[in-house]
């Protein structure tokens, strides 16, 4: 794998575009707070793509929306997110809103319902560009919009069409064009290919791959498809039950996963060589009342006694990145007898389902 040694292009400085520190998001419910994101930290350099993977319900989308400020009512955010030298979680909602579009962009999971059915594509572009560049002339707007469409492979003849006249894949490309025409520095793409078929998926992945070259955008790519991460991302963060359990360069992490969850997740991926299906028994924990110690220990095949009692410590990975797992260390903090294999409770049938 020669890719390993190729530096991601266009990373011009060490200064991250966005840097999250101990970000937390809660949803208030009658049962108590759901801690959907619980102490997440990462950095994203200009033009870099970070893949965020994990199974459903582990807080990936919540994290993406939390960064955008698009959380539903009743959700609370905490921690720090530095964007171009400004802290955005603590700023007034109004100022945060102003960043959206031309600084922070978002691409959604369901392209079919994300465009206003009563408005032409041209109207969508015009209102978005006008919002952030009130002085733009109609011709300039048109030129910018058509250029963005061209990069997405949509012919200019479709500029005046209505959303329902496009296929799902085209609508997702429209959504990407609509987000990128505003030239945001940071884009959250929340499972942008989940609703699309594989051929279209490949197309979209290619487009996202080209983003760095064409728009120099930093991308947080949320997905549960490990293959997409391998193709389109520079770095990967593996999320489990509201925490990033391992992150680092894609090649490093995928070739040498150090967290058992990363390893099991990779093993569960289906490819042409797959002979038997592999899965991780059980399901992610209840985030109102997560298990003590490491949150993965009830499902972890390598769990030790210490995992059920003490929170794992975040360590630097060998070869860059970070991981939090007692198997990696720090060994001096494991109490005596802590390395004994943990006797796993039998998984109830209900949990399996």
């Amino acid at each position: 794998m020669s890719v390993e040694f190729v530096e991601p292009p266009y990373v011009d400085s060490g200064e991250p575009v966005i840097s999250a520190r101990d970000v937390r998001v809660w949803y208030g419910t009658t049962r108590g707070a759901i801690r959907a994101v619980d102490g997440v930290s990462f950095d994203l350099a200009p033009g870099e793509t970070l893949g965020l993977v994990g199974e459903s319900g582990c807080g990936k989308s919540t994290l993406g929306r939390g960064l955008m400020g698009l959380l539903p009512q009743g959700a609370k955010r905490d921690g720090e997110v530095w964007f171009k030298g400004r802290e955005i979680l603590g700023m007034k909602a109004k100022d945060n809103y102003r960043l959206r579009g031309h600084e922070l962009g978002m691409i959604f999971q369901e392209p079919l319902t994300r465009l206003n059915p009563l408005m032409r594509i041209s109207d969508h572009f015009e209102e978005s560009i006008k919002q952030h560049d009130p002085g733009a002339t109609k011709d300039a707007i048109r030129a910018r919009a058509l250029e963005a469409l061209r990069l997405m492979g949509i012919p200019p003849t479709r500029y005046r069409s209505y959303p329902h006249e496009f296929s799902g894949g085209m609508r997702q490309r429209l959504m990407i064009a609509l987000a990128l025409v505003l030239r945001p520095s940071f884009v959250v793409a929340d499972e942008p290919t989940t609703a699309l078929d594989v051929l279209v998926e490949a197309q979209i992945v290619q487009i996202l791959n080209d983003l760095r070259r064409n728009f120099h955008t930093s991308l947080l790519l949320i997905t549960h498809n490990v293959g997409i991460v391998a193709e389109a991302c520079d770095r990967v963060a593996v999320m489990y039950a509201g925490r990033i359990v391992e992150q680092g360069r894609v090649t490093d992490v995928f070739e040498n996963p150090q967290h058992p969850y990363t390893r099991e997740l990779l093993r569960s991926t289906i490819s042409l060589n797959t002979t038997g299906l592999n899965f991780i028994p059980g399901s992610p924990p209840d985030l109102v009342d997560p298990p003590d110690g490491c949150r993965f220990h009830p499902r972890c095949p390598d769990a030790m006694a210490v995992c059920a009692t003490k929170n794992p410590v975040t360590l630097d990975r060998v070869g860059g990145g970070r991981v939090e797992c007692w198997l990696v260390g720090p060994h001096e903090q494991i109490p005596p007898g802590g390395t004994q294999p943990l006797k796993q409770e039998e998984l109830a049938v209900a949990d399996e389902a």
């Binding site: 960043l99 579009g101 978002m106």
Partner: protein
Amino acid sequence: MTRSASGSLPRYILQRTLLVIPMIWVILTLVFFVLRVAPGDPVSAALGGKLDDEALDQRRAALGFDRPLIEQYWDYLSSVARLDFGTTFSDNQSVLHVVRDNGGATLSLTIVAFIIALMVGVPLGLVAGRYRDSLPDVLIRLFGILSYAAPIFFVGFLLQAYLAKPLGLPTSGMATPQTIFNVEEHTHILLIDVFLNGNSIYIEDVLKHLILPATTLGLLICGVFIRLVRVNILQTMQSDYVEAAEARGLARRKVTWRHAFRNALVPVITVIGLQFALLLGGAVLTESTFNWPGLGQKLVDYINDRDYGAVQGIITIFAVAVVLISLLVDIVNALIDPRVRY
């Protein structure tokens, strides 16, 4: 190329207009046979017990009720096609004239009531939906339920009792006899004729007479609009495209107006059409409360007289009007919503 892809509007309108013909035929057939299926015949219903059998038979023959049903049916269809809606049995008038003379009153009452309902109901619904569960929302919802649930004659009575005196508004009829006598007939719609006449005294008189009945009827309909608009706003405010517009940093005001409100009003148009059709024949209670010489009132009179000729003719005209209104609604919908054009 794009034009054909977005569905041709003229072609849609043409297709939709052609569809009116079979629709009207089905409705006419229904009207004809439903009235015939009812037990007894018009003559014995109206005059049974008052005349002997022979005299009744004579009357039936005179009205053509002794002929085979299929022949009567054909006569009915062909006369409707010639815009001949028959004559009333009780006072031997052309149904078309009855509808023309009384329909104008109903039409002006209905239209003004609609304007009031839309002007009150839509903004209130928008506010209630936009600021869900706030105090204004609670109050507006309460108002909507009350105005919809309160019986018309009760609301009409309240307005007559508490508003008429202090505001100096008349409580009965369309105008003072003087006005009716002096305003010459052009359109058979007093509200229009009085403006054609141009005398401000008469205009004021007619408008004053209109306020209470139109408000009463308008309040009833505005309850429907409040609830409908509110529910639609709640839906569109949570829709994916509204969130996407917010994610693009579009000003909240624009998101609310261009994305949420506009889309929420589309179903309202359909309901406007339905309600309007309903009201053409259904303003009876308002008309009788305010002694308004409208068609609903007239229809009730004819039904009480067992005047089948009048009932059949008036219902036929209503039916045609409903079909035409639904055509209009569909065309307006197609103009607004491109997805309809297919």
